[in-house]
Amino acid sequence: MAVAARSIHQTRRIKLQVFRYVVFALAAIFFLVPLGAMIEFSTRANNGSRTLEYWQSIPKYPDLTDAIFASLQLALITSIAMLVLLVPTMVWVRLKLPRLSRIVEFICLLPLTIPAIVLVVGLFPMYLWLNTNLSDSILTLAFAYVVLVLPYCYRAIDAGLGAIDVKTLSEAARSLGANWFDVIWRVIVPNISNAILNATLLSVALVLGEYTIANNLLYNNLQVELVHLGRDNAGVSVAVAVASLLFAFVLLVAIAFIGGRPRRVRPEAVTTVGIGPTAGSPR
């Protein structure tokens, strides 16, 4: 009896292991082949041999280098603006206006439920006005991008603030004579540096991958230019796509690495509002 039961369990375990490895192998094929194909495609010469010609000719496309530069600038501006806007507000709400915290959370997570294409429809007339009255620089896109990255950064920073005792820290600093700027800049920020780095990397990754808003507001950022170029010279376009992907991948691995360090995180901040994790990501 016991022997029979054990062999049933054993066959079940073997079956399960076979099932698992088949599933993992199939998943690996589905997810890795398209990525590998891009590298293969961007190094394939017309006669079928390997070449780095496409990679080398990236600097020869001024529109492309301009777009890369613009996207990098946008990433920088967006990250700084997001931090300046979000960190003091969230600290302030935590300390002084806890009743507002639900509202701020709701506002910050709202862009997740609004598809980017819908946001563009509302932004379009505003940007028409902005272009004629203020500036038609591509860098004005940062205004919209701050809204786009808001939910992701809110979660990152909220987790960071949840892990420290904001109240005690700020009261201690205040009683030692610090003003509010010092409290935030010299006490809170160093304590949530991981969360801030996390939020920054996320917004950089999001801005570099953004296409919908830029394309429909008629700006040439990196992704828009990639599509244009893809119609003329697919090889160069795919090469840049691989490069940007690798860059974003490094950023995301960095996030995973930072996030992997043990720390206390309040889970309810993420789960109480019933909005999905990525419903508004830039695709």
Partner: protein, 270 residues
């Protein structure tokens, strides 16, 4: 507070512009024509097509993702394989847009090595037309971010299943089928359904991937919005674009509300 001012300007104001603009005609007079125009055949078709694409990729993505999640969860909870697949899912669920379209064009497109290889071995999967740049292609490409998203949202539910429940079912004489049919299945079903809805909303809002992949025609509702907004294709109809935007918001919001209700139901047990 500067935060509220900023959000008011760049989040609330655009919403108000959409809400009001949808009821205005070209002369800024009140009209319901924009909503009547939603019944235009090409917009109606785009709505149906987008719904079908979202439903197919949500159901397929959820099923395949659930299988993958099960394969992950039956392994060691701190094992390398699990950590690797979970972080990879986190990256791939965010992976979309232009680069994703390129990845598929470069692999299974008509110049991609998978196609060249298959064709050289007598399997020409484009014999009846290049479906990659049409709705079937979109379905396949969307799965690339739907499956990882499913893994991320379904893993916590699977982790909540206790091995004791299976032992209990077995000690009461139940076999594997009984266990899945009467214990694990009913427990996981709300979580699964909720995930399907989340994936649906995710695919429904997608724009960049579709636009980078498909040049001809605008099969996706998001592309119709873009088309009506810019004068690139056809007429410049800002009011109409806003009406389609409202249609889209209503659908996504309904799905999201259902999702959060199901989340609450799931939380009761898992």
């Amino acid at each position: 507070m500067p935060f509220l001012a900023y959000v008011g300007f760049f989040l609330v104001l655009p919403s108000v512009i959409i809400g009001i603009g949808a009821f205005l005609n070209a002369d800024n007079a009140f009209t319901l024509d924009n909503f009547r125009n939603l019944s235009r055949s090409y917009v109606f078709k785009a709505t149906i097509d987008t719904t079908v694409i979202s439903a197919i990729t949500a159901l397929l993505g959820a099923s395949l993702g659930a299988i993958l999640a099960y394969a992950i969860v039956t392994g060691s909870p701190n094992g390398l394989l699990r950590r690797l697949t979970v972080s990879a899912s986190g990256v791939l669920a965010q992976f979309g847009g232009v680069t994703l379209a390129f990845a598929f064009i470069a692999s299974i497109g008509s110049a991609g090595f998978v196609y060249l290889f298959a064709k050289a071995h007598g399997f020409d999967y484009y014999a009846h037309g290049i479906w990659l740049f049409d709705i079937p292609g979109l379905d396949l490409v969307y799965l690339y971010f739907q499956i990882p998203l499913m893994v991320l949202v379904f893993l916590p539910a699977l982790d909540g299943i206790k091995p004791q429940w299976r032992e209990a079912a077995e000690s009461l004489g139940g076999n594997t089928w009984h266990y899945w049919r009467h214990v694990a299945g009913p427990l996981l079903f709300p979580a699964f359904l909720g995930a399907v809805l989340l994936l649906f909303a995710n695919a429904f809002s997608a724009y960049a991937t579709a636009n980078a992949l498909i040049n001809q025609g605008q099969p996706v509702l998001a592309q119709q919005i873009a088309g009506a907004m810019s004068s690139e294709v056809g007429a410049f109809e800002p009011g109409f674009a806003k009406a389609i935007a409202i249609e889209m918001i209503i659908i996504v919001t309904l799905v999201t509300i259902l999702y959060s209700l199901l989340q609450r139901r799931t939380a009761r047990w898992l």
